[in-house]
Symmetry: C2
Subunit: 397 residues, 2 copies
């Protein structure tokens, strides 16, 4: 999903403001040149969008250069010109002979391009923990630019991304509209005898169809709808086995619009009479979710949000180890999380308006669990969720 | 998609044989311990399957140890026990406090585990150019194990994967059955006024539903169905704009079964009267595809396959830069290619029975292109395709 002629996803001024904020952080970090390899960061700074992150590609941001440079595979230049706001002479492609070759690596081409621009003696920031920047790429770059100084600037752009613009919020709200339909369709599909793959197929269709006004995009995680013993294994995907009666199903779903996400999780029970302890868990969890949402407002810390939930379940005699949420928005597979702020003990990030989180609350017993999540933005005085969907245990009797 | 109780995807003996072949290559490369971080390689050696590759995880194969070790996030141990053939005491999880933390990195936990097993002074092979192994992970490991020697063993397991077993071929044939349905549904959907997202939504649904006998899995690339000027930008995804009359559409689709892929590409034209030069391109390309398929057999080199095509189009007055195919099979996003053998000049890989390729032939003019692909296995005397679908320009008049 990307801009069409005449309807850019964002104004050039917005990209420029993102680049300016990035450059301020580059100055603070003491670097001259930033090599942006995270596909979400590449998109954020220029609009570039394509399923091309399986080969080395990057945006170069130099303090001494007003416009970024895109470098990628030669055949992807057309996509870069179609989606990024950059001038055509700022999109540079390496020949196809560099692709997955035993003899040469795209990063030596990249180093040559840096040298041409006089960037080979600079302090260069790298995203050392981003998904599509490999150790081999890193070593090739370091070897090819012996006079440069390299620094880890992982998450530098991610931290710029943490506060969303009004237009970004609009896309997340649109993702919310789609997410409501996705969850509704998923719960509709659940019945004993229906194969997991058939239910997930409808989820995918609903994600991509979107609404009559706007279509949907692929999500950074695949849909997950585990049942039975698999609910205790969080990242297993579907099978072609049928759903069975008297089982709980955890629905971890999402929708995406222009690469902006709205994840949403709910739990359903197949059968007329859910076990009383599942019903009790669902009540405690939903009560905790409501309480925690009520507590979110600008000025409080991420760890304070988590404390609200922690205290609530402690009163019910439970505790939970993992974090209960994370900053998210624009992203690509394999993760919609931004890897910046987390709702967990020790995270001192101060909430500000238009920060956006996925808060996922879950309680697991030996044989089943209940989970319920909301995607939300911090507002001036509290928070609001992107999707409007009932918070409860769904009973498909 | 993964094994259910009582129906493993592969016999333990098959995993064992894959591990044995890997160990032979480790001996040849002079390493004692292999750190396998590529999710497809992790699956290949143990059966492990989950959407958990967004956090550090790995399989350790040691020459002095009969059984592999799985290390990943604590919450994914249940998934590892559900999908991998390993004994429970060989699945080791790091605490959630390591996940995306500014203070500590999962690789220091991994180094401790290696030290416990006496592997900290060994020659350790790493997959230096695999997608989910980052420079930060690499540096943490090197720093934490100062007495170890590190070597790049990228693609070591991928080269073991290049020849498929009979059971792997069965899954690729099943993917072929689904791919036929996917392509049929995609072409059915194409009509002027239909939004791209609505056509892609049906493609997704068909991919995942599979057949009445077996379901489908998510594919390592998203479906691509570009039209108009976007056909010259290969990796752009869909929009919510409608398809228009008198436009060509390139359909680059696939199906997946148990993580084994069957990609397939075709081209359609919306309108009764396709331009004569598109018709001519389609005839040249299909003729070239047929010729090249006829030429594939054990014993010839990958570059010789490409030569058949190259000579064919030279006779028609054309040339094409990029490779025309690559080894593929088991994989995860972002790429179903195995990064080993390519059908391109200079690739001296000798074809053997049960090597599997995606061969994609395309010709592009200024404003449109024609492409047609087949997924195939090399047989004892030639080759056979996984999907049976007409090779031609599809005219939706």
């Amino acid at each position: 999903m990307r801009k069409e002629a005449g309807m850019p996803l964002f104004q050039v001024a917005e990209y420029q403001s993102r680049i300016d904020k990035t450059k301020k952080r580059m100055i603070d970090s003491g670097i001259d040149l930033l090599v942006v390899t995270d596909p979400a960061n590449m998109n954020y700074l220029t609009g570039y969008d394509g399923w091309s992150f399986y080969v080395p590609q990057m945006i170069l941001i130099a303090l001494d250069d007003p416009e970024p440079v895109w470098i990628g595979r030669g055949m992807d230049i057309a996509g870069a010109r179609h989606t990024a706001f950059l001038s055509h002479d700022r999109t540079i492609g390496y020949p196809d002979s560099y692709v997955q070759s035993p003899d040469k690596h795209p990063m030596s081409f990249v180093a040559d391009e840096m040298r041409k621009r006089g960037w080979d003696q600079q302090r260069i920031g790298l995203e050392m923990d981003s998904y599509y920047f490999t150790p081999r790429s890193y070593k090739e770059l370091v070897k090819s630019l012996p006079r440069a100084t390299f620094m880890d600037c992982n998450l530098l752009v991610n931290w710029v991304r943490i506060i969303k613009s009004p237009q970004e919020i609009v896309y997340m709200q649109q993702a919310g509209r789609i997410a409501e339909r996705v969850m509704e369709r998923a719960i509709d599909m659940l019945a004993p005898g229906v194969r997991e793959c058939d239910a997930v197929a409808e989820v995918y269709r609903t994600q991509i169809k979107g609404t009559s006004e706007f279509g949907g995009d692929y999500t950074a995680f695949v849909p997950m709808m585990p049942t039975g013993e698999k609910t205790s294994a969080p990242h297993l995907t579907w099978t072609d086995e049928p759903y069975r009666n008297e089982q709980a199903v955890n629905l971890e779903l999402a929708a995406c619009r222009n690469r902006y996400h709205c994840p949403i999780a709910r739990t359903a029970y197949l059968g007329r009479n859910p076990p009383p302890n599942l019903v009790k868990l669902s009540e405690i969890t939903v009560e905790g979710l409501n309480l925690t949402l009520e507590g979110i407002k600008p000025g409080i810390l991420c760890e304070e949000v988590e404390q609200i939930w922690r205290r609530h379940i402690a009163r019910a005699g439970f505790e939970k180890e993992s974090r209960i949420g994370y900053s998210m928005g624009l992203n690509y597979p394999p993760d919609w999380g931004e890897h910046t702020a987390s709702l967990r003990p020790g995270d001192k990030t101060v909430l500000e308006p238009n920060m956006t989180f996925h808060m996922i609350l879950g309680m697991w017993m030996e044989s089943f669990g209940f989970e319920c999540s909301e995607s939300l933005r911090v507002t001036e005085h509290g928070c609001e969720t992107f999707a409007a969907f009932p918070r409860k245990l769904f009973i498909k009797g």
